[in-house]
């Protein structure tokens, strides 16, 4: 339903990834306050490069030459999703409530091996066509379980704390500090950094899309999908 709103496309497409693009520049940057850059170039107040002839090269954050980004793969994903969602590793996701998503069902497509029975001694060099599907199912399942726990037992909520809801199951105030805190918690847990203002605004704005769909439990749906978006981001699935 909300597929076009999601960041899924970013999750497994690493080829063109420049790591410098992962987040907008924030905070003080060496050399950005005028003076000289690291190579001795004159810099303008915004970090732009002032050429000897007076021309200006627009301010640019350098990108990685290597762009060496690896899919976390099965074991690390299992550990990281468990830690981020506050579950033990075998609680994160089970297909049919019985079979561990990481270890049993989607093992190979998530970059695991099956040395003893199938003779797959090393992870496949490339992810498979089913890798994004498996990852989406796991993220959606894990997020749904966390959101249900947080909303059903708010006194022990881990990520979605103190979310005020109206009688229809919607958020009482999408601009409430508790919404910002939840978004920030998602970024801290999955991306190991604070959410920046643009990211908070984007996820707040996404609530409108959810309510416009006529969802009767808009707060829950928004929370699940916000969690889904962050947990399937490049920063969460790759390193």
């Amino acid at each position: 339903m909300f597929r076009d709103q999601l960041y899924l496309h970013a999750a497994l497409l690493t080829a063109a990834l420049g790591m410098g693009c992962l987040a907008e520049p924030v905070g003080p940057v060496p050399g950005a306050d005028g003076g000289t850059g690291l190579d001795g170039s004159l810099l303008g107040p915004d970090g732009s490069i002032v050429l000897p002839d007076g021309g200006v090269v627009e301010n640019q954050i350098p990108e990685s030459e290597k762009a060496r980004v690896q899919f976390k793969r099965q074991r690390r994903l299992r550990a990281d999703f468990a830690a981020a969602l506050g579950f033990s590793a075998d609680e994160v996701c089970k297909e049919l409530d019985r079979f561990d998503c990481f270890v049993t069902v989607h093992n190979i497509s998530l970059g695991g091996v099956d040395a003893y029975n199938l003779g797959i001694f090393e992870p496949l060099e490339e992810t498979t066509k089913t890798t994004p599907i498996a990852m989406e199912r796991i993220a959606l399942t894990g997020c749904r379980n966390r959101v249900d726990l947080d909303l059903d037992t708010p006194e022990s909520a881990l990520i979605f704390k103190n979310l005020a809801m109206d009688a229809s199951g919607g958020l009482a105030d999408v601009n409430a500090a508790s919404v910002d805190d939840a978004i920030d918690a998602l970024y801290k847990r999955f991306a190991l950094r604070r959410a920046n203002p643009e990211e908070i605004a984007e996820l707040r704005g996404f609530y409108e899309t959810v309510t416009a769909s006529g969802d009767t439990k808009a707060a829950r749906s928004w929370a699940i999908l916000a969690c889904f978006m962050v947990s399937t981001s490049v920063e969460s699935l790759f390193y």
Binding site: M19, G20, L22, A23, P25, V26, G27, P28, V29, P30, G31, A32, G37, L38, D39, S41, L43, G47, I49, V57, Q60, I61, P62, E63, S64, E65, K66, R68, Q70, K72, R75, R76, A79, D80, A83, V113, A115, Y116, N117, G119, F121, E122, K188, R189, L192, R193, Y239
Partner: protein, 469 residues
């Protein structure tokens, strides 16, 4: 075991088919004599595929050499003609951009890129940058990035946000200390050294387990349907050689076994060295050579074979990083192959590989696979027409124990060991611009680090390749 015969024969056929009639295995050696400083020559000669596609067919770079090599002279050239004139042909070819990527072959050889591959060319972008990236310190060693990566690579999980913030708040020296302290913690973790841990997984390719024929029953883990040998002994020995800075060469030279203990109910896994290990192993101590004389290795790779080429090729591939089936590590021995088992390997098409593979194999011929119960044992009288002496890496050896010592002390072993870990943490082989650092690391592993893997891993984490995003 019909399956075993098929496996052995198919391997033999594979090796035979990729053997070459006209290519010259001396080519890589001459190339490195001409370009001793080339990154591709550090720690060994390039594979035949540096100039060939499927020999004798040449790739674009090989074609430019061919064009300059005694043009007009009748083919095939004699070895003398080839040896004498190849250096000049190499020099002529280096001025040509064989793969059309904008760089001539000489520049590509110096940079360590592939002169036959248009997608492989020297880096043109420059560091340092105009200014620093506030999130990832590209072009510089980024300790926070390395800290996060160490946690994932070795502990198997990300640090928490709070953990990372605490790390960022430290000074430069404290960060360096904390980074390596975390690495030490991770190297003690179950994720690293436990059953199914990272080291265990690293051993799969070397041990090639098969549950259906594993012996030994454990709670919840019964023996296979046709129990022949227990590969858990092999995993324990391998992990032992990789931890606590034990000598990694013992993977090939160990004359002992290792028992795995603990690892359940929160108890850490321990590995205990033992001289003997009951009835699960058959080779007597003076004939042991680490993982290549375990019962599992011999059962799987020798099986019923008279001349177990598969056993030699697997050892070469798993521990020295060279796959003869891919024309890697060819070091032809004069007057070889003799063809003791009458397989026709003297045919020109086959002998290019078998002149290396067969003398590599002879020492294995004295070990039983499945031909003598209780399997996997040494027998000086096995294959009496085959000599026990052989040749590995160009060096004559009297038996498999000496074979293993030569192999374990070689540059190739050090390079292959580092390559295992490099690929583990980088996700790929070294890039051309990283070959100098790669070479320095395996040399340190072999010398200053006394073949201690954990010391090598600290060096690896300190490297620019690891810590520069």
């Amino acid at each position: 075991m019909p399956h075993g015969w098929m496996f052995a024969v198919s391997t033999l056929l594979t090796l035979g088919w990729v053997s070459i009639a006209d290519a010259k295995p001396v080519g890589p050696t001459i190339f490195c004599e001409e370009y001793p400083a080339a990154p591709v020559c550090q720690g060994g000669a390039p594979a035949c595929t540096f100039c060939h596609t499927a020999p004798p067919d040449r790739n674009p770079y090989g074609q430019t050499i061919e064009a300059s090599l005694l043009p007009g002279t009748t083919r095939p050239l004699s070895t003398t003609q080839y040896r004498s004139n190849l250096p000049a042909a190499l020099r002529a070819a280096e001025r040509i951009d064989a793969d059309g990527d904008g760089f001539n072959s000489g520049d590509e050889i110096a940079a360590g890129t592939k002169p036959h591959d248009g997608l492989s060319f020297p880096s043109t972008s420059g560091c340092p940058p105009f200014r620093r990236n506030p999130d990832y310190d590209v072009c510089f060693y980024d300790r926070a990035y390395a800290f996060r990566k160490v946690n994932l690579d070795f502990c198997g999980r990300s640090p928490t946000f709070e953990d990372l913030e605490l790390f960022r708040a430290l000074g430069e020296t404290e960060q360096e200390t904390a980074l390596h302290a975390r690495l030490d913690e991770c190297l003690k973790s179950e994720n690293w050294r436990g059953k199914e841990g990272v080291l265990w997984s690293l051993a799969h390719r070397k041990i090639k387990p098969l549950k259906a024929i594993r012996s030994g029953s454990y709670p919840g883990d019964p023996a296979g349907e046709i129990p022949l040998a227990n590969y858990y002994d092999d995993y324990a020995l391998f992990v032992y050689t990789q931890i606590d800075n034990n000598d990694a060469r013992h993977a090939l030279t160990g004359d002992y076994f290792v028992v795995r203990q603990g690892g359940t109910s929160g108890e850490p896994t321990r590995y205990v060295k033992q001289t003997n290990i009951g009835f699960s192993q058959s080779v007597l101590q003076n004939r042991r050579a680490g993982l290549i004389t375990t019962k599992w290795y011999l059962v799987l790779n020798v099986m019923f074979t008279d001349l177990p080429r598969t056993a030699a090729a697997q050892a070469y591939r798993a521990f020295l990083g060279m796959d003869i089936a891919k024309l890697e590590g060819l070091r032809p021995v004069d007057d070889e192959p003799v063809d003791y088992d009458g397989k026709g390997v003297q045919a020109p098409f086959c002998s290019q590989c078998h002149s290396t593979l067969d003398p590599l194999t002879y020492p294995f011929a004295k070990y039983h696979g499945l031909t003598n119960f209780p399997f996997g044992s040494y027998d000086a009288n096995r294959q009496r027409n085959v000599p026990e002496a052989g040749v590995v890496l160009g060096q004559p050896v009297r038996d498999l124990v000496e074979w293993a010592q030569v192999a374990a002390n070689s540059d190739e072993f050090a390079k292959a060991t580092l390559m295992d870990y490099w690929k583990l943490v980088m996700g790929e082989a070294p890039r051309p611009e990283e070959l100098t650092e790669f070479t320095a690391l395996w040399r340190r592993f072999k010398n200053e680090n006394s073949h201690g893997v954990e010391r090598m891993l600290h060096d690896l984490v300190r490297s620019e390749a690891y810590g520069v995003p």
